[in-house]
Homo-oligomer: 502 residues x 2
């Protein structure tokens, strides 16, 4: 018989219904010897012990709110039985609490990647052709097409040729408040480990975001379109590309410890099982990767905002806490200027789906970061500076967040979804993880990894986590290719630009 | 001998040096029998009559400032000899002044285009495949590639298949202040006359910008990716495309009066000659097109801001004046929030190039609108509502402005440049007009039309204007193909979104 409910964390005083039909009143939770006292729909919580008024409701091992009444074991805990204050002011002095517990020895693991001079390692060997201004996008699109069709075949160790294109560069207020954000993102994307330290940039010649504002390019990396005819420019660009293709082609995959992985975590198109199956599996993987010495980043300020006090309790260093709070405040102000807020109050749909509080909702998102200490905080698009778990303060929008993570220097992305998304990048592998079996079956040609069996008791978070680690290694080593890469589905880079357009 | 200076408008009390080396002190302006009293570099002005202190300096036939001293005929008028107040408060009651004078009868002209049910006419016959969210971009890119390679050949009357893609749709604050701007733009782009009234939209299925927010689509125009596997979706999308290709293929070009043209005017990568050669030529063409009953729109708020009082004097209707002032104020506020302004004060480079005042600079941009009355004002991306000359209040950034104009429903764009830009759209022809012979020669494979001969006296604005009108008709009729279309250089659509990302 399939499992009908799940306890997310051992410390939880409630279980979550994972049965599509819900659990009937009068059913017996045999494991706890409790008779269910209400009908409890999919995604909703049942108390597995008596919880007196004002005592904490624990989920994901964290306090997601407090009982509004005396809740008896077996009763439905819906959003009316729980209260919490929307977290407005963040408490920088909240007690630090180490959650890290792992008695098991991790098995020995390594992957095969491309070594870069700066010490990073690529999971792909790509020639990236970039531009500093949207005006040149037509040129680089044509150039990349030409190289793919005429040159790439000669360079068998080069995986692909990709564009680094964006809508920035001209018509921008170059010195406006916050204009450093898009400029930092573009500066750092070019340094991504998957580009092998090779840089090539096509500039128009009259843009405001001038090449001297881009650290990674030197004069021989730049071609200025205004100096030459199209055909001359195109010929010159092909020559520049071939020089770089030859250098990239000399590289071969070498064995590396997992500490060379830099993984970005994302979720999008989430459902009631995201916080139960896929995100905890990503959390398991994040914890193990941190133990292996890898860099793992999670992001999405507006998604995690309401679990901020829990996040702060995972940050030991006070300066880092300050940086986190500054970023949260920046986003609050940014949204407020346009008379909106993070809209984090669970919507009617969320409530019906069992997300009882804003913390409950945010915890589903935070679950993918595991329980390790957060050892660094990044501005949007700032480069990863340390191994361990890092929070990157980016927007939650999938494509904006993805572009920021790319700029931070990830060499792979894990992306969980319950409803399904075709989001993918040409620059790093994006592993698509389903939260449920329905999606995994329906989207068999798009989903790379399915955690749906956790919800029906056919697998556990630990089992799926170990499987996912092996899968990550195969993808990082080029042994397995993600479904979206096989299909060639690629999204645009979307550079976060909160500054105005003139 | 080549011409060394030019009088832009008959009413002007100064001439502009168009000779690359400038004009030496002691040279004789024979036409006016004046000895030049200073060395005057390229782009700078020489007084051709005495202008006493505080009397107006006239250029483009308009007051661009007032003499700061008694200026003698033959003297250089540089930025130190002229004063003007940066236009802050706009005067809604400024006297209306009709500038329209045309004694000549326009020659009979028509073009061949594609008739649409809504009364508009296309200059291309395109299948546009759009999406409501960035997430689906990979899918539509792949779909368009497939159609081009496998289907398009069967439909010889269809010119091309294009994507309508953007970075909006998810992760947006859907009800935020100003969020109606990107939503209006996307809503209206789909209605562009060049898409033949055929609509086809790929949606992911969980985006915030839901299909019901997009007027032009009905349920049979939509494919929701989350309902089907990739291969099923792709097959379905191909079927949807073929239905539309068959309908589009039944269309043939028919003869239409020029009143069916809807022309967007833009300039970018400007130089000292933009306001002397190409923009006045576009202005001539704009005036004639207005006489033919066509719709002509010019844009770029921050560029024309400082000529606002002159613009207002060309608007008869008080409500339209109000709409104009509202839009100008909106932009002022929008920029001020990020602690910048329109940066319209001529830069040191502008001053060296002879742009003496903010009005002088703005007039160079406004010159491309001719001298007709402005009979309508549009919000960014708002649909063209009337024939005649319309001002569309868009940002000045080329690719943002271009996307807004496309949304307004243009079926062709004229784009002048002095330094050169490769900006082009797949959706409407973009005619690239050079301001000078150096660019036209260097960029022979990118420039469609050269007005450089005006500066050296080998041609006049009227002559070039008549030539350009004929060229426009050939391009609108599909008889001539722009250089950028021949090369297949296409920029991204960049939807103006002043609202925040969550």
């Amino acid at each position: 018989m399939e499992l009908k409910y799940i306890k997310i964390n051992q410390k939880d005083n409630n279980v979550t219904v994972v049965n599509a039909e819900g659990i009937e009143k009068g059913d017996n939770l045999k494991e706890y010897n409790i008779i269910v006292k209400d009908f409890v729909p999919l995604g909703n919580k049942i108390a597995i012990q008596d919880i007196n008024k004002d005592l904490p409701i624990i989920r994901y091992g964290e306090i997601i709110g407090y009982a509004d009444r005396d809740i008896k074991a077996g009763e439905l805990i819906d959003f009316k039985s729980i209260h919490v204050n929307k977290v407005k002011t963040l408490d920088i002095d909240i007690p630090y609490k180490s959650r890290k517990v792992n008695d098991k020895k991790n098995k020995e693991r390594y992957f095969y990647g491309y070594e870069n001079k700066d010490g990073t390692v690529g999971t792909k060997n790509l020639l990236a052709i970039s531009t500093n201004v949207q005006c040149s996008e037509g040129f680089i699109n044509k150039l990349v097409d030409y190289i793919k069709n005429n040159l790439l075949g000669k360079y068998e160790n080069v995986d692909d040729v990709v564009t680094v294109s964006h809508t920035y560069g001209c018509g921008v207020a170059i010195d406006a408040l916050d204009s450093e954000i898009p400029q930092r993102i573009i500066n750092n994307i070019i340094k991504n480990p998957n580009f092998g330290g090779e840089v090539m940039m096509i500039c128009l010649g009259c843009e405001k975001f001038t090449p001297d504002k881009i650290e990674a390019v030197s004069s021989e990396d730049i071609l200025v379109q205004q100096n030459l005819s199209f055909h001359e420019s195109f010929q010159k660009a092909i020559e520049m590309a071939e020089i770089r293709l030859k250098r990239l082609n000399k590289r071969n995959r070498k064995k590396f410890p997992l500490s060379k992985l830099r993984i970005g975590l994302q979720c999008g198109g989430s459902d009631a099982l995201s916080g139960v199956t896929a995100n905890p599996t990503m959390g398991y993987v994040a914890d193990r990767l941190v133990e292996y010495g890898a860099s793992v980043i999670f992001s999405e300020v507006t998604e995690v905002r309401d679990a901020s006090n829990i996040i702060l309790s995972r940050i030991k260093d006070k300066d880092l806490r300050k940086k986190y709070i500054n970023e949260i405040n920046w986003y609050d102000d940014y949204l407020e200027k346009s008379q909106v807020d993070r809209s984090a109050n669970p919507s009617p749909g969320n409530k019906a789906g069992g997300l009882t509080t804003v913390i409950d909702k945010a915890m589903g998102s935070v679950a993918k970061s595991g329980i390790s200490d957060i050892t660094d905080i990044l501005l949007p698009g700032e480069l990863i500076k340390k191994p361990g778990l890092t929070f990157a303060a980016t927007p939650a929008s999938d494509f904006v967040c993805g572009t920021c993570q790319l700029a931070s220097g990830i060499n792979m992305m894990l992306f969980s979804s319950g409803r399904g998304t075709t989001y993918n990048l040409a620059h790093v592998p994006v592993i698509k993880i389903a939260t449920n079996n329905v999606l995994a079956k329906k989207w068999g040609d798009l989903i790379d990894f399915n955690t749906g069996d956790i919800a029906i008791g056919k697998s556990s978070v630990d089992e799926k986590g170990e499987e996912l680690l092996d899968y990550i290694i195969d993808v990082a080593s080029g042994v397995k290719i993600t479904k979206s890469d096989q299909l060639g589905l690629y999204n645009a880079l979307v550079v976060f630009n909160p500054a105005p357009i003139t």
